[in-house]
């Protein structure tokens, strides 16, 4: 693991290396070099298994974080590659030419976060939300509760409790 990270640091401008588990490391790289790092890992370092691609909405920093997790089945090592892209122009290079299934993840991210991957096959097709015409629902500025109340005819008389408070009152009624 250490040697691998040294090799990567020598070749690429990676930062924020965090070892979360013995065989799992997170690292950050800029948007331009992400795909070449993934290609390098797949073709030279033998990370043949693409685990997942997901996104996080950092609305305060006006950024989307994309996380690619790759797995090397021979030595059982995971590497997670984080990259930050701007929220104003959410667009990322597609990686569908490396693994076919990446196209599906990118299609999902396009629908849920509105992150575009030009050239990815079928990226504009609807994935789960057929005919969604609001802002993408996984963005944090999308108000789920308000949308639900306007759309889905909520049944009146529903009570909501804060789970921590509720259990505290129930288990220790005397404080």
């Amino acid at each position: 693991m250490k040697e691998l990270l040294q090799r990567l640091e020598y070749r690429f401008d990676v930062s924020d290396i965090v070892q979360k588990r013995e065989n799992q490391t997170f690292l950050t790289i800029d948007k331009k070099h992400t795909i070449s790092l993934i290609t390098h890992l797949r073709d030279i370092e033998n990370f043949s298994h693409f685990v997942l691609l997901t996104a996080v909405d950092w609305i305060e920093d006006n950024l989307f974080q994309l996380t690619y997790i790759l797995h090397n089945p021979e030595v059982n090592i995971d590497i997670a590659i984080r990259t930050m892209i701007s929220r104003d122009n959410p667009e990322m290079d597609s990686a569908h030419h490396l693994w076919e299934q990446v196209a599906t993840y990118q299609r999902e991210l396009k629908e849920m976060f509105g992150i575009n991957f030009p050239g990815s096959p079928g990226v504009n097709d609807s994935f789960i939300l057929e005919g969604w015409d609001d802002i993408p629902p996984y963005r944090r500025d999308f108000d789920t509760k308000k949308y639900t109340e306007e759309t889905y005819f909520p049944r009146p008389g529903r009570q909501t409790n804060d789970p921590a408070e509720y259990m505290k009152n129930k288990l220790y009624p005397n404080g």
Partner: protein, 230 residues
């Protein structure tokens, strides 16, 4: 005539959710004739459902209702997590066959639709299609809290809150998830209701067709199917 056609096609093009395979097109038939096909009108019957009144003879009708109650064919359509609670019913431990409950593989032949658990909008579209393909004395059972008030998915952007706004529900079974025993109790409740002549969900659906359709169309935004799927 051509003006009207143009108007129609331009109206269709404006609808961004209209599937391209449903557009009007001209086709060359095997014998060389050129014919125009409008898939939505030619392949489907566009009529609304009709109310089928119960038989006038009360005694005869109650006999038929008894037969309907004792022979419930469940459509094997699991919408959510609750579908996994249905299969124990067919095992030796619970054995729902004793009560005349069988699984039917196609909507054409089944009489009860169980909405098992949360219902997402994408699934609702398929559920509506399947429900409308079932034949007239047909019943709907809502399984789990999700169909009653949304359950733990009450504030989800993609799951419905109240099933009875979209389909006429005969029985609800509360719980998250209900045990198979609760399901059996629900079946008995449904049977009682049918025997009393209250299982008229299909007629209710036909009477309030426009209200149900409006509710369905409010959330199914890419409505690219006929209004009633015969």
């Amino acid at each position: 005539m051509s003006e009207i056609n143009n108007k129609n096609t331009s109206g269709i093009e404006k609808d961004k959710f209209f599937a391209p395979e449903n557009e009007k097109r001209t086709v060359t038939a095997p014998d060389g004739q050129i014919i125009e096909i409008d898939p939505l009108n030619d392949y489907f019957c566009g009529d609304a459902p009709r109310v089928h009144k119960p038989h006038k003879n009360k005694l005869f009708e109650s006999f038929l209702n008894w037969a309907r109650a004792e022979s419930i064919w469940v459509l094997g359509f699991g919408t959510g997590c609750g579908s996994i609670e249905l299969y124990p019913l067919l095992t030796p431990r619970f054995d729902a066959y004793r009560f005349g409950i069988q699984m039917a593989p196609t909507p054409r032949q089944s009489s009860l639709m169980i909405i098992s658990g949360y219902l997402s909008v994408k699934t609702l579209k398929r559920v509506v299609r399947s429900y409308e393909q079932m034949q007239n004395p047909k019943f709907v059972m809502g399984l789990g809290s999700c169909t009653i008030n949304g359950g733990m998915y009450w504030d989800s952007y993609n799951t419905i809150n109240r099933l009875d706004y979209y389909l006429p529900v005969d029985t609800y079974i509360a719980g998250c998830m209900p045990r198979p025993e609760a399901l059996l109790a629900g079946f008995n409740h449904l049977k009682k209701a049918i025997k009393e002549g209250k299982g008229e969900g299909a007629n209710k659906y036909a009477e309030n067709f426009e209200w149900y359709k409006a509710n369905q169309k409010k959330i199914i935004k890419d409505w690219n199917m006929p209004d009633y799927n015969w």
